[in-house]
């Protein structure tokens, strides 16, 4: 589902964020991406989101070679990728429902389908009763779950998470990881950037470790 082939990302001559990264993630696989801050985790996620383009190598998502994708096609790729952020990026000028509905509105989903699918996503994260509230009224853990509902509302085949448990206590973090595990069980490829080593070890999933732009463990995958 996600494949990196000899991917190098250089920002300028003296700063190389990723060096010849190789790995592949299958459909329904859940993996962690870890490493010190500045090791290239965010850059790797940005390459998948086509927020950045690789300096060399190929990034393939769902069979699409992203480096050759014209700029106009980028939004359509992003519709197949759900993203969860540490600071969730919710909009406080609208309700929880409207926040979660955004990916569907962007796709031009008919209004009656929007209602059904938003409620299904909110139900999944256990916030169905709070759809009419403003996200500002919610706790940190609840806000994060709204962010997750928004990321999965259009049933993307790929889900990325950038430090999704960064601000949460261990119990809430475990709940959120449980949610991600459920998504991977229904076939979603999940990649979670995190430096919460304890939590990662506890779950015992595949872990990609980056060190100064190099993938030092957990590489390989699709083609060995």
């Amino acid at each position: 589902m996600i494949e990196f082939q000899q991917v190098t990302k250089r920002y300028d001559s003296d700063h190389t964020a990723l060096r010849q990264v190789n790995f592949g993630l299958e459909r329904g696989e859940l993996a962690f991406l870890t490493g010190h801050s500045g090791a290239g985790k965010s850059t790797l996620l940005k390459l998948v989101m086509v927020m950045e383009r690789p300096s060399a190598g190929e990034v393939v998502v769902g069979g699409q070679v992203l480096s050759r994708l014209p700029r106009r096609q980028v939004p359509y790729i992003r519709r197949h990728i759900g993203v969860v952020f540490q600071n969730h990026h919710l909009l406080f000028d609208r309700t929880v429902f409207d926040n979660v509905a955004m990916p569907l509105e962007v796709m031009g989903t008919p209004a009656r389908d929007i209602g059904r699918r938003v409620r299904a996503a909110l139900d999944k994260v256990g916030l169905l009763s709070k759809e009419k509230m403003n996200p500002m009224q919610l706790s940190g853990g609840e806000q994060q779950r709204v962010g997750i509902a928004r990321a999965v509302v259009n049933k993307p085949p790929v889900l990325l998470a950038d430090e999704p448990t960064g601000n949460l206590d261990p119990q809430l973090s475990a709940d959120i990881m449980g949610l991600f595990a459920e998504f991977s069980q229904v076939g979603v490829t999940v990649l979670i950037a995190s430096h919460d080593i304890a939590l990662i070890n506890e779950l015992g999933r595949r872990t990609l470790t980056l060190d100064q732009g190099r993938l030092v463990s957990g590489g390989g995958g699709l083609h060995g």
Partner: protein, 334 residues
């Protein structure tokens, strides 16, 4: 997305199965347009003072050139009226006899550019002059009638233009026995030159103010883009196309334009109402039927459509300059 495109291309599918999602897509597309239009209108209403100020600025900027053009149209109406009543007066040489004058009259009347020629002999002229000038006593001192025979020439409809009368003037002036030809076109030509100058000034003003309107709207929309930066980032992040992200701002610009156009129209009506009394009185003193004309229905429509287009254009400039720069790359930290 890729899936639906393939479906449309696939010829083996029946029209019935492929039309329904297309129809659905179209209806949700227009539904979204309606929603965005309503939403951006609502945002303007929520900041009534700021919106009203923008509308007023735009209204004033639009009303000024339009007012000038309306004034010009009224002035052109005046000059057209005078041209139709213009008559050429040909004073014949003193030695021309009444018979010769009559022959000359017939010659001039043969010209196709002339509808009517009236001969006023010198005795009649003197009698008229005596009656109208109040110089009876003074005229009695004269030994003989100093006035020549006169031909009053009415040009035909087609030659009642400044140019047409000018040629006719030259032709009559070239005839034997004609001493002097006069037509009171001088002031008309001055008026024409003045209206032409004013017309150009009005267009220049209109262009400048249109540019100002585009910039004002552009700046207002730029501020609203800044205010909604987070929303734009999220929309781009979840796969919103550039068109999707631009749409609310383009509608905002169009609404500003609509409001500005309506304000401009109100300002014009108001000043017309305020000025029409004094103008009529002034025109009455000059015994002219000059009156200020307001906007016709077509004119109002054109004004408002132009205003909407200018607003849209301003928004488009701002969106092009600022929106495309906002990329979700900056959302995720290093």
């Amino acid at each position: 997305m890729a899936e639906s495109r393939n479906r449309r291309k696939d010829p083996s599918r029946g029209a019935r199965t492929s039309r329904s999602p297309l129809k659905q897509q179209a209806s949700s597309y227009f539904g979204h347009h309606r929603k965005v239009a309503r939403d951006s209108a609502r945002r303007l209403w929520q900041a009534p003072v700021a919106s009203m100020m923008t509308w007023t600025v735009m209204g004033v900027a639009l009303a000024l050139p339009v007012a000038l053009m309306l004034l010009l149209a009224s002035l052109q109406g005046v000059s057209a009226g005078w041209e139709s009543s213009a008559r050429v007066t040909a004073y014949l040489a003193e030695e021309v006899t009444l018979d010769q004058a009559e022959t000359l009259r017939q010659d001039v009347a043969k010209d196709s550019r002339v509808t009517e020629v009236e001969l006023i002999d010198r005795d009649t002229a003197l009698a008229e002059f005596r009656a109208s000038s109040g110089l009876e006593d003074a005229l009695d001192y004269l030994n003989e009638n100093p006035l020549p025979h006169t031909l009053l020439v009415t040009p035909s409809d087609t030659s009642r233009t400044a140019d047409g009368i000018q040629t006719l003037l030259a032709v009559i002036e070239g005839m034997d026995g004609v001493e002097q030809v006069q037509v009171d076109l001088g002031w008309l030509q001055r008026l024409n030159a003045m209206t032409e100058l004013l017309g150009r000034a009005a267009w220049a003003l209109a262009l400048l103010l249109a540019a100002a309107v585009v910039l004002v709207i552009g700046n207002t929309v730029r501020l609203s883009i800044e205010n909604r930066r987070d929303e734009i980032l999220v929309a781009k992040l979840v796969g919103g196309t550039d068109a999707f992200v631009r749409r609310p701002f383009l509608y905002t610009g169009a609404w500003f334009g609509l409001g500005g156009g309506v304000v401009a129209w109100l300002l014009l009506q108001l000043s017309l109402w305020w000025l029409s009394g004094p103008v009529e009185r002034l025109a009455g003193l000059y015994s002219s039927d000059f009156s200020l004309s307001g906007l016709t229905l077509d004119g109002i429509l054109a004004l408002i459509i132009a205003a909407v287009l200018l607003g849209w254009l301003g928004a488009w400039v701002a969106v092009k300059r600022h929106l495309d720069d906002i990329e979700p790359g900056e959302i995720a930290g290093g």
